[in-house]
Symmetry: C2
Subunit: 208 residues, 2 copies
DNA sequence: ACCGTTTTGGAACCACCGGTTTCGTTACTC
DNA sequence: GAGTAACGAAACCGGTGGTTCCAAAACGGT
């Protein structure tokens, strides 16, 4: 049985918050140095200067440890209304792009593989990350609709895939440089907003 | 030192091709049943009815074994000219989408994580997969340019990210159903072709 | 001041994994 | 028939994830 995540204190020694920070820092450093598959719990403990027991008291498994370090609770807050559909989408897309581009290249795919392999992790990811993102996009669409910027209201999931997907493929499938991400997302946003305001493209004249 | 991949026979017992098939089948089955991270070489050997030595005689590591099984040499052949930009793009996109959607959900992210962690694998992936895809897209753009379907010629890597990315995110980030992939890619193609033929969208009137 | 509770770093422990090697056997070429 | 290499099976090794135990230390309640 994995260790519990939250042991409430009616008494006894409180947790040392510097241990939490040391673990998180060690995980981030080791992800950069050895990559996701070669990260070991023993090395995290050694790097952080803590015992393995202190780690397992906070995180049940290696996968959850990395998940917790990379996706803290305060991920994707309520979106501020920036006055236009494009600005709103640019803000959330920039936040997602930065979250994907910050850890070393193999980290996000590795974490996704573990998420797909473990139903419990998959559920946590769905609520914490996808749910928040869906709510954010829905709110952005509400604002755009109120402004009259939309001719049709797209499905949030489809919109999410269309916006985040290219940056995703750019970084992890093509292994291209994060430096060129802003240009890619900017062009993508121009195209998406143009289509959304002009209505869907005319049906093609040549048969498929 | 890992075992060699190709030991040519001037004499001696030839390789049993049924062993190759048994290994590939076992890998595919086990990927479905236990997922990428929990696939073990011992179980592949047991499932295939084969000794571990026979596997390592063909594939140097577990990562390369899965890579070889999932991305055989004959991946992405020369693209037939289907007469229109949309049809050409639809053909290559359908092929890529099928390759991503066929193995179980965690497989592609897991393989990508290993590819990013191992420079040798990364090189093989870049030439075998990305190189072929880049050549295919370049050829498609040549045909479209000759037909006068393009106002500006996009960069193949950007085009690749814009086309494949949404399907990528749809399957592995959002964990949505592969059944709805054709609708997603079809709408995406309509939009992309409309933009490519009409020229880039008009610059936005509201400031960013 | 004392006691019970909990966390601390450190170390030991276990089952298992990836990878290599060895074994006797089998199938093919020269 | 001699030589060679692949075959299935099994043993082996270093290392890993995860669990548990330990004595010391830090806190709240009384």
């Amino acid at each position: 049985m994995p260790a519990r995540k939250q042991a409430r204190n009616p008494g006894g020694r409180p947790r040392d918050s510097r241990v939490d920070d040391a673990i998180a820092t060690a995980v981030r450093e080791l992800l950069v140095e050895v990559g996701y598959p070669r990260l070991t719990m023993a090395e995290v403990a050694a790097r952080a200067g803590v015992g393995k027991a202190a780690i397992y008291r906070r995180h049940a498994t290696k996968q959850e440890m990395i998940f917790d370090v990379l996706l803290p609770d305060r991920f994707l807050a309520v979106p501020p209304d920036r006055g236009s559909l494009r600005a709103d989408l640019a803000a959330v897309l920039a936040e997602v792009a930065e979250a994907m581009a910050t850890p070393p290249p193999g980290t996000v795919p590795g974490l996704l593989a573990d998420i797909h392999a473990d139903p419990a992790l998959h559920d946590r990811f769905t609520e914490r990350y996808l749910g928040a993102q869906r709510r954010t996009l829905t709110e952005i669409l509400d604002h755009a609709t109120a402004r009259g910027e939309l001719t049709t209201r797209p499905d949030p999931a489809v919109l999410n895939a269309l916006l985040v997907g290219p940056a995703f493929a750019w970084l992890f499938l093509l292994s291209e440089s994060p430096a060129e991400l802003p240009a890619l997302t900017s062009a993508l946003l121009d195209a998406a907003v143009a289509l959304a305001t002009q209505g869907p493209p005319a049906p093609r004249t040549t048969p498929a």
